[in-house]
Symmetry: C2
Subunit: 466 residues, 2 copies
């Protein structure tokens, strides 16, 4: 059975996805609501590798964005499908991409109210069940895959619908922090650590640059700030400075999350090893503010074509302190997100930017006429009370600031934690690449083995019961 | 450990329930709905037997009715609490009793739309979590109990919220038939079998009496029908005859369900062993129609005070072919129920009364402006795909026509089926009684042992993880 990691170095051809639409129930939980109808939910499907009658179904539980974005950046799933003869489906999350339950009115109040995790999971449960019928594949074991929020959905599918899915690979899924467990300082502390691990001087330079910016802001030296940061318009208020700080911090966040060993085009364009590139930039010239600007430019001006930075178009502040914009549907995500991460300049290198539950409540009330229910995710999706669950892989990369909001230790023989020492945000879901570190090659191999086992178990179980 | 079945013959004192209200979220699944508030959900609680800091919590997942009705007819739970030092809570289901989310408007459209199984389960999950906090009992293992639909809710609590409940005793819970598995003829076939088991002549007499009624109806001899059945008004249409047939069939249904060995006051008044009483009546005088009338009178005229039967006040036809009225909130139940049981006079002794999915759809559209989704319960609550579940007792009585819509065989060492040969509808949940058959005494003993084990397991588990 020892196939060796070189398996993953094969370059696979285009998986040839077909784009289709599924007629989906708008409201699964209220028979008398305005959502008493159906909408077209997009999915991508390929049977290129499928051994029909034998092969399993690999189902990606789409997250906050256009489903093509995830399909094109999760090549591991199709590579694994080629190996295991699987049918592959990437399903788009309601309210993202083209899967809008109420068309252009979807982001109005109250139409936005049917954007919930429960509705999304029910969508997938129904879609899997009906597509299996349509495809003559009712006996095919189904494995769900997802990255980040999509990984959370994969976990929840296995928790709530084990009648439908035999196992879940949840890559970089912060199921604990999102349920309110953990420390609000963790995220930006871990972003900071990524830069400090390249060079502690890098972290110190970033912190010092933010201090210089703070001093200039306190002196209201807005023209100097404009010129140092190449802003299109001079800042003129504390709000503009807050926006600038948010934009800069978000640049570091993205580089830490997307610190892949080769250049990528996912959530924008990134060079290979962006954290190293950033630190080289931060420690380059003698002007720290210019260094900070150029470092942010790695993210915001990857093409080199921008002549100035427009604070409010490059970055959208929203209820997610880790960022809302950049190719995702920021309105829908703004409605969904429930995080209170904050930076404080003590445990991290960023300006103090508090975001309390109270502030979140005020924001959500004003923007969406809703009040968050902080305990709900923990009740509904179990948080760390997972002892009755099974067949879930929690994979996390040590470079990923989301990692420590997830499950890092095995909870049982079938609740497996895979930690990828050189991995950023769900690197394991990406296609194999010559630059892949050994840790991700090993991780994918272990994931493939576990999924093979689950598929086999499910086959035996369904034979026994049929 | 051998305590012997006589334990259950102790007569326990009044459990001293206190009636309280819990501030409950109206809509758990839509933050922007009309239900963006809270309502008062009733529950009954007694700490009379509770060994605080050690004893578990026994939580009854209330079903379609006033919660006092269930608390007063589920004495086994308080007897077991006395034995195991448990806190006991009986929670009232939303839209029943006094737990009306929108007060008097609750049964209007669209307010009725928040009456769903998912909302009810979320109510219980939140109520348990918050009451444990309030009571300083966050470490107490919780066991859920329920009978009939309440038993289904107990199963579903364990499936969907094993983070909150350590085990479930589901008495007479027809989780398979309600999910659309099984045979639409099963229910009335099994009602019929109860009477045939007393005497095949009894079944034959009932069938023959219904034939005589049919002949009279075909001759439109309505005055004869009025006099034979002591109706307050003469029938005048096929609809009236249909209503009479429904009322009569429902009388037999109730006697079969409530065929307890002692007289009861649950869902009306019943003599001890009502099926025997019915057969004695059916085989009494020489006039079969009079016998049929008097047999129905066991149910509808238990006091003997009625001078005539009013067809439309004694029995309410609704979307539940097994009956809607009699002390329950018929409007709410009419909205909830999803059964297509029918009688045919071939596999049962009743008049042919078909009730197809199409007929149900027409009814629900007209009455409630909703369309049932037949596959949903199977997807959402797993139906027979329970292999990943654990710690559930499915108890059923062989006399109960609901039994064969439930789980009758163990599915694993922790998915246990207990069949009570001499038991009617959730007899095991009732207080011990001198007239109890050995089979129910044994069943309760086994249930007590399993629940003790689950509580112990949960204690060990939480100690290990804390």
């Amino acid at each position: 059975m020892e196939k060796g990691p070189e398996l993953w170095n094969i370059s696979f051809a285009d998986p040839q996805f077909t784009e289709k639409y599924f007629s989906q129930t708008v409201d699964h939980f209220n028979f008398n609501s305005m959502g008493n109808g159906s909408f077209n939910q997009r999915y991508l499907i390929t049977d290129k590798y499928w051994k029909k009658g034998y092969g399993p179904i690999f189902f990606y539980t789409g997250n906050e964005g256009d489903i093509w974005e995830f399909a094109l950046n999760s090549g591991f799933i199709t590579e694994l499908a080629a190996q295991q003869g699987a049918l592959v489906i990437f399903a788009e999350h309601r309210y993202y991409g083209t899967s809008l339950p109420f068309g252009n009115d979807s982001f109005n109040i109250p139409q936005i109210g049917l954007l919930t995790v429960e509705q999304a999971l029910a969508d997938y449960a129904i879609m899997i069940t009906e597509l299996k019928l349509q495809l003559g594949a009712t006996d095919s074991p189904v494995i769900v895959f997802g990255g980040s929020y999509g990984g959370m959905l994969s976990v929840y599918m296995r928790l709530k619908y084990p009648n439908i899915v035999a196992g879940a690979l949840a890559a970089s899924a912060p199921i604990l922090s999102t349920a309110g467990l953990g420390d609000s300082r963790q995220f930006f502390r871990d972003v900071t650590a990524d830069f400090a691990n390249v060079a502690s001087e890098c972290r110190d330079a970033v912190r010092q640059a933010f201090h210089q910016l703070k001093d200039l802001a306190e002196q209201q030296d807005y023209s100097r700030i404009q010129s140092e940061f190449a802003l299109c318009k001079p800042p003129s208020s504390a709000q503009d400075i807050h926006q600038l700080n948010g934009l800069l911090r978000n640049g570091f966040t993205l580089m830490a999350m997307l610190d892949y060993p080769y250049s990528t085009h996912f959530m924008g364009n990134m060079p290979a090893n962006p954290v190293q590139v950033a630190c080289k930039t931060m420690l380059g010239g003698s002007n720290l503010l210019a260094n900070l600007r150029d470092t942010a430019g790695i993210v915001y001006n990857s093409t080199g074509l921008l002549t100035c930075f427009d604070l409010y178009s490059l970055y959208v502040e929203c209820a997610d302190p880790t960022g809302c914009g950049l190719g995702f549907n920021s309105q829908a995500w703004d409605y969904q997100i429930e995080l209170c991460y904050e930076s404080n300049n003590v445990t991290d290198m960023f300006p103090p930017m508090p975001f309390t539950e109270r502030e979140r409540e005020v924001y959500c009330s004003k923007r969406w006429a809703v009040v968050p229910r902080p305990g709900w995710l923990k009740i509904q999706f179990w948080a760390d009370a997972l002892s009755t669950a099974s067949n879930i892989i929690f994979s996390n990369g040590d470079l990923d600031p989301w990692a420590n909001g997830g499950v890092r230790k095995a909870l049982s023989s079938s609740l497996v934690a895979i930690n990828i020492s050189e991995g950023a945000h769900h690197l394991d879901l990406r296609a194999s690449n010559e630059a892949d570190p050994v840790s991700v090659i090993k991780a994918r191999k272990r994931e493939a083995e576990l999924i093979t086992q689950w598929v086999e178990m499910e086959r035996r179980r369904s034979q026994k019961f049929s």
